[in-house]
């Protein structure tokens, strides 16, 4: 599968990674090579084979629905690049 520039720009936007115009072409070539290499999986007949998400038990363990942690706002905020009055700060999102 050959990826074009527009597709790379689209997935970069989905992944929220800014990529400069000059990087798009070389990146498209590189990613296309990797995808082409992956396509050897098409040789494998997987009809009737169930997909496997994990080797761990399919059923998640259940526990009582109660709070087991928390009450450590200051510790959490200590790692944030910008905070104000006990909150994380982001650019204005509502006009």
């Amino acid at each position: 599968m050959a990826l074009d520039k527009a597709t790379v720009a689209h997935i970069a936007a989905l992944a929220r990674i800014r990529i400069s115009e000059t990087e798009l072409d070389p990146l498209a070539d590189e990613l296309s090579d990797i995808l082409t290499w992956m396509e050897q999986l098409n040789e494998v007949d997987t009809s009737g084979v169930a997909p496997m998400a994990s080797v761990a038990a399919a059923e998640l363990p259940m526990r009582e629905d109660k709070v087991t942690d928390g009450g450590c706002r200051e510790e959490i905020l200590a790692n944030a690049p910008r905070t104000a009055r006990g909150f994380f700060v982001v650019p204005k999102v509502v006009e």
Binding site: S54, V55, N79
Partner: protein, 496 residues
């Protein structure tokens, strides 16, 4: 002045020496703190923690004096900088985690400290554990303590647990923690001439370990001997309710499994592991391994693992897909690097562009693509179906054999910068290690010989799920037969 002769001891010997009071934990840790400084040119540590190490050693000495010694009391170890350590900078080798001091401790490191181990510092790694050469770290490449005789070019230690492997090989840690998503414990162990163990999926908790690909990430130890790996694994293992994939299984005394008796065990030799372009010396060493195990009373059996050649492309779809989801959390808002922007999307995009290196960006983009509408079935679901077949290969093989013997890596260590141009050439390093991650089965890498140009080569034992005991037992027999006693060219304390 600390005593460098202490650095030559294995973990088991140091444990016994501490119990006999031949030396104190403080003396042992002082020697290792000096070793950490001495090997600084290898760049194996991102953050040494010498004061914390001494304080932990003093606490261990008090317990040892009081006759209440813990299993790892006073044993100085390195921690891969992917494990969150409370109050200690944790980077994952990435710019995007600048200044991150976790307010919590990973389950595995917490267990190690509860067992009395001493933290020497945080070890360098490929960025977010993505790499096979430890050249993608924001903190610079790690150098292998080994060099080819008569050749001064620095070599890679393998990756992604490259700092963990280099530190143990250069005697600047008695053992270390690593993580193995596609070979990241076993391949660097092989490149550095030490032992690396990837346990069964679910054996060691992933809680508090920075996630790369959650269904494939396995915490495990790197050590100088198989016995040391058994000791470390016991301390690192156990059910953890905080990791929903952690297995509620009892933890055996793995050291007790090292009986040396492998008579009657059936050892699978998979013909598909004879890959094109593998050096003849690795093939010969593999044959030698078969003969060693036969001489010890085991029975080699040729087996087929027909899906082997599809393991790498399967891995390089599933791992980036999971990574693209896991790495969505690095947004410049809650921790780490932030590059300001006019809008929230600008903030995200600029932060992630500045914070992720080239290999991480490549994998996040590939992962985003294979999960995107229209391609999900063709790539991601297809890879998950092939993963089922790869796992079935192992289930079928283990109906006939007790474990499987293969080479660990298709080459010895290469020079820094040698394979970085072509991502796929780099991915091929993991050809023998990736299948065990997809199937979640345990595997150990044991150093067994030197290449023609004087570098360590390893063999791998793969076992049944939750049968690390057989893996360790056969690994130790291999180790005893191989008598690998070579030292790297750069060893702390001068190799005395």
């Amino acid at each position: 002045m600390s005593d460098p002769s202490l650095l030559a001891l294995t973990l088991a010997e140091a444990r016994d020496g501490l119990a006999r009071k031949s030396f104190s934990a403080r003396e042992l840790t002082a020697a290792y703190n000096d070793a950490v400084s001495e090997i600084q040119p290898l760049n194996a540590y991102i953050t040494p923690t010498p004061e914390r190490a001494l304080a932990m050693a003093e606490a261990a000495d008090q317990r040892l004096a009081g006759g209440e010694a813990l299993p790892l009391d006073g044993i100085p170890i390195a921690v891969k900088d992917l494990y969150c350590t409370r109050g200690v900078l944790t980077t994952a080798g990435s710019h995007i985690l600048d200044g991150f001091h976790p307010p919590y401790e990973s389950t595995v490191t917490d267990k190690l400290w509860q067992s009395g181990a001493v933290m020497l510092g945080k070890a360098n790694l490929d960025e977010f554990a993505m790499g096979s050469s430890n050249t993608t770290s924001w903190y610079g490449p790690v150098e292998n303590p080994w060099r080819r005789p008569g050749d001064n070019r620095p070599l890679v230690p393998g990756g992604s647990s490259g700092g963990s492997a280099a530190a143990v090989a250069a005697r600047a840690a008695l053992a270390s923690t690593g993580t193995d998503t596609g070979g990241s414990i076993r391949q660097p162990a092989s490149f550095c001439g030490i032992v690396g163990l990837k346990p069964t999926y679910g054996r060691c908790s992933r809680w508090g370990v920075v996630a790369y690909a959650s269904s494939l990430d396995h915490p495990g130890p790197l050590t100088r001997t198989v016995r040391d790996a058994a000791i470390m694994l016991r301390a690192m293992s156990g059910h953890d309710p905080k990791d929903s994939t952690s297995a509620p299984m009892p933890v055996p005394d793995f050291e007790a499994a090292l009986t040396g008796d492998i008579r009657g065990l059936r050892i699978g030799i998979p013909k598909e592991y004879r890959v094109d372009g593998m050096p003849a010396e690795i093939e010969e060493l593999w044959q030698q391994g078969v003969e060693w195990l036969r001489a010890a009373g085991a029975e080699p059996v040729e087996i087929g693992l027909p899906m082997t050649k599809y393991a790498l492309p399967t891995y390089y779809i599933i791992a980036p897909a999971e990574a693209s989801s896991n790495l969505a959390r690095y947004d410049g808002v809650r921790f780490g690097l932030r590059v300001e922007g006019d809008t929230l999307d600008d903030l995200y995009e600029l932060t992630r562009a500045a914070g992720f290196g080239a290999e991480v960006r490549r994998r996040v983009l590939i992962g985003t693509y294979v999960l995107s509408a229209g391609y999900y079935d063709a790539y991601y679901l297809k890879a998950q179906r092939v993963r089922t077949l790869i796992t079935r290969d192992f289930v079928t093989a283990f109906e006939r054999v007790d474990c499987i013997l293969t080479p660990t890596a298709p080459s010895a260590a290469f020079a820094i910068g040698e394979k970085t141009e072509d991502p796929i050439a780099m991915y091929l390093n993991d050809v023998f290690t990736v299948p065990a991650n997809l199937a979640g089965v345990p595997a150990i890498a044991v150093p067994v010989g030197l290449s023609g140009d004087g570098l360590p080569l390893g063999l791998q034992i793969i076992g049944r799920a939750f049968d690390e005991e057989t893996v360790l037992r056969v690994g130790e027999v291999l180790e005893s037969a191989a008598q690998f006693r070579h030292l790297p060219s750069f060893v702390a304390g001068g190799g005395r």
